[in-house]
């Protein structure tokens, strides 16, 4: 009949998530994660895609920017020519380009997420831990940032200061830290009054050391989940910018640029669109499944 999930008072044993003796918590989480097939498969695919993007290009017969002067038009896939997935209209190897583009997209994704992590965790932990005026001021600022149409600003920045790799992940990172800060602040608030924090304070720990030793390790779980879900978000923004012609500059490339190039020639060579789009989509899928799996593993609700 109707199946609904209606949970009565949570079992004590399962509420152990807030236990400081983290070892068994992490082991439990790992076990649950490994039991989650979608997440596990996603993790494996991500590792494979990552290795392929970063290592395989050096073993391919063609590099991403090398033009095959004998075949300066779109070529079909062929083992003989060494273009395993064919070439684009300029005669550049599609496989090499897709893998190299992945390298750039993944790098931007990870670096920008790292920037977001750094800002978000510091702001969140400081706001939550110090409370009072500092908290209010920081959170007001976060609220303010939420009302700014940030993609517009990134676009303006990219136009004005040139299409610069470093600027790009810094700018994206500066958008994505907001949610991280809110989440970490919330967690810190609930941790703040726990006994072990009081004990550390009584023992004369400085604010900085308490945040670094006790708060941050305890919010790690949520942070990991959020990081996993932010990386695909960033890859999307990067590819969006690239698509509008505001991302990475030629001869470098990224998934977004490849998709945009491929879309232009899709009537003749749909391959040029479908290959980068497919690989990017697969990667984004996997990050999302992995993120969901991690969330379930770290915060089990009976389902």
């Amino acid at each position: 009949m109707t199946s609904i999930n209606l949970t009565s008072p949570q079992p004590e044993a399962l509420n152990a998530a807030e236990d400081v003796q983290g070892r068994s918590l992490w082991q439990d989480a790992l076990r649950r994660l490994l039991a989650n097939r979608a997440a596990l498969v996603s993790l494996i695919i991500l590792v494979v895609v990552g290795l392929a993007c970063f290592i395989a290009p050096s073993f391919l017969p063609w590099t991403y920017e090398q033009i095959d002067w004998d075949r300066m038009e779109a070529n079909p896939p062929s083992l003989e020519t060494g273009h395993y997935l064919g070439t684009d209209t300029l005669g550049r190897d599609l496989l090499a380009r897709v893998l190299f583009g992945g390298q750039i997209s993944l790098t931007v994704g990870i670096l920008a997420t790292f920037v977001a992590l750094l800002i978000g965790v510091s702001v969140g932990a400081v706001a939550g831990f110090l409370g009072g005026r500092v908290d209010q001021a920081l959170m007001r600022f976060v609220d303010f940032m939420y009302t700014v149409p940030l993609t517009f600003f990134v676009i303006i920045l990219m136009v004005l200061f040139g299409r610069n790799f470093i600027l790009m992940f810094l700018a994206i990172g500066c958008i994505e830290w907001l949610t991280m800060a809110r989440i970490v602040r919330g967690q810190t608030l609930t941790l703040k009054n726990k006994e072990f924090i009081e004990a550390a304070r009584a023992a004369g720990g400085s604010t900085f050391s308490i945040i670094a030793r006790h708060i941050i390790p305890n919010v790690l779980g949520v942070v990991i989940v959020y990081v996993t879900l932010t990386i695909p978000q960033v890859i999307l923004i990067e590819s969006f910018l690239s698509f509008l012609g505001l991302g990475i500059q030629e001869p470098m490339t990224s998934w977004g640029m490849l998709i945009s190039e491929g879309a232009a020639e899709m009537e003749t060579t749909p391959r040029a669109l479908l290959v980068p789009a497919g690989l990017m989509t697969l990667t984004l899928f996997c990050f999302n499944f992995l993120g969901d799996g991690l969330r379930d593993a770290l915060d089990p609700k009976d389902r």
């Binding site: 109707t2 199946s3 609904i4 999930n5 209606l6 949970t7 009565s8 303010f144 939420y146 009302t147 700014v148 149409p149 993609t151 517009f152 600003f153 676009i155 303006i156 920045l157 136009v159 004005l160 200061f161 695909p232 999307l236 590819s239 969006f240 698509f243 509008l244 012609g245 505001l246 977004g256 998709i259 945009s260 491929g262 879309a263 899709m266 009537e267 749909p270 669109l273 479908l274 789009a277 990017m280 989509t281 984004l284 899928f285 999302n288 499944f289 389902r303």
Partner: protein, 311 residues
């Protein structure tokens, strides 16, 4: 309630001012200008142009002038579309974007929310997995992939069949020309709405008061509609607030791909051409919409949950 809204509007003014100011100085202080295009312009013409657009004055003076005009609702002349003011461009583009956005919004609501509820009620069933699978697809497949693929299928693949849909043409907004762009626009929102609704509905159904309602012997659909739905809508409203603002101001990607004359495309063109006033105009419009929607969301919270007080 009225005083709550008044207070929020008052807070919104400095917020908007800060956004405008940052945006203004960002653009004026950056290297390069609107008139250094591909072909170099002779210096005397450039000087004339700069004078015509007030760009020869000190930045502070330009700023004060701009703000004074803005206070009168005047966004100034466009730097690139020489014969138009920004007000005129927005008046042309906004209705197009807003109409498409609104259609996409309605589509997203009538598909996304019911699908999310269904998935929540049949948790872990085939229906649930199907809805969640589509929803995840909608979230990870970006518009600029979805749109070309749909064009590939419906405009190119189905060419010369009755099912062919036009793409890249607008024809003053004839129905057939809107189908693909509106559908592409709504996909992301359908996906998010289904996902958010499902999660919040599951959460609402776990609440103790839903158990009380079931204990009264109420039929299940009444339990859902009367007791669970309102609470479940809170995260949905939170998402939809800024979501509506973004939808109404048009999607840069979709409008670029389908070549729709909306303000999303104007913004991209404006940014690429350093059309300062146009970019400012669209940014201000978008920020005001986001702020307005957020105020509406806060008012909605009070309606959905009487515990939220507005005083």
């Amino acid at each position: 309630m009225l005083s709550f809204i008044a207070r929020r509007v008052l807070i919104a003014i400095p917020t908007l001012w800060a956004i405008i100011t940052v945006c203004f100085f960002l653009m004026r202080l950056a290297p390069g200008g609107p008139f250094d295009g591909d072909a170099p312009v002779p210096p005397e013409i450039l000087a004339n142009l700069r004078a015509a657009y007030n760009l020869d004055k000190p930045v502070m003076v330009q700023y004060v002038d701009y703000m004074a005009n803005l206070a009168r609702g005047d966004f100034g002349p466009s730097f690139k579309y020489k014969d138009f003011t920004v007000n005129e461009l927005i008046a042309q583009g906004f209705p197009v974007s807003a109409q498409n956005g609104l259609s996409a919004l309605i589509l997203a609501i009538i598909i996304g929310i019911p699908c999310g509820i269904l998935a929540a009620l049949r948790q872990n069933s085939v229906a649930d997995y199907t809805v969640m699978g589509f929803s995840m697809t909608g979230i990870v497949v970006p518009g600029f992939v979805m749109a070309p693929v749909l064009i590939l299928i419906f405009s190119i693949g189905l060419k010369d069949t009755p099912f062919q849909l036009p793409a890249g043409t607008w024809e003053g907004g004839a129905f057939k020309h809107r189908i693909l762009p509106v559908f592409c626009l709504s996909l992301l929102y359908i996906a998010y709405l289904a996902r958010i609704t499902r999660a919040s509905m599951i959460e609402a159904l776990r609440q103790n008061y839903v158990r009380t309602a079931r204990a009264k012997g109420l039929p299940f659909h009444q339990v859902v509609v009367r007791h669970a739905l309102k609470t479940a809508m809170i995260p949905v409203v939170t998402f939809l607030g800024p979501g509506i603002a973004f939808l109404l101001t048009g999607s840069m990607v979709i409008e670029t791909i389908f070549q729709l004359p909306g303000i999303g495309r104007y913004f991209v063109q404006g940014a690429l051409n350093r059309d300062y006033t146009l970019v400012m105009g669209v940014t201000i419009l978008s920020a005001s919409l986001i702020i307005t929607m957020n105020i509406i969301v806060d008012v909605m919270y009070g309606i959905l949950d009487p515990r939220v007080r507005h005083d």
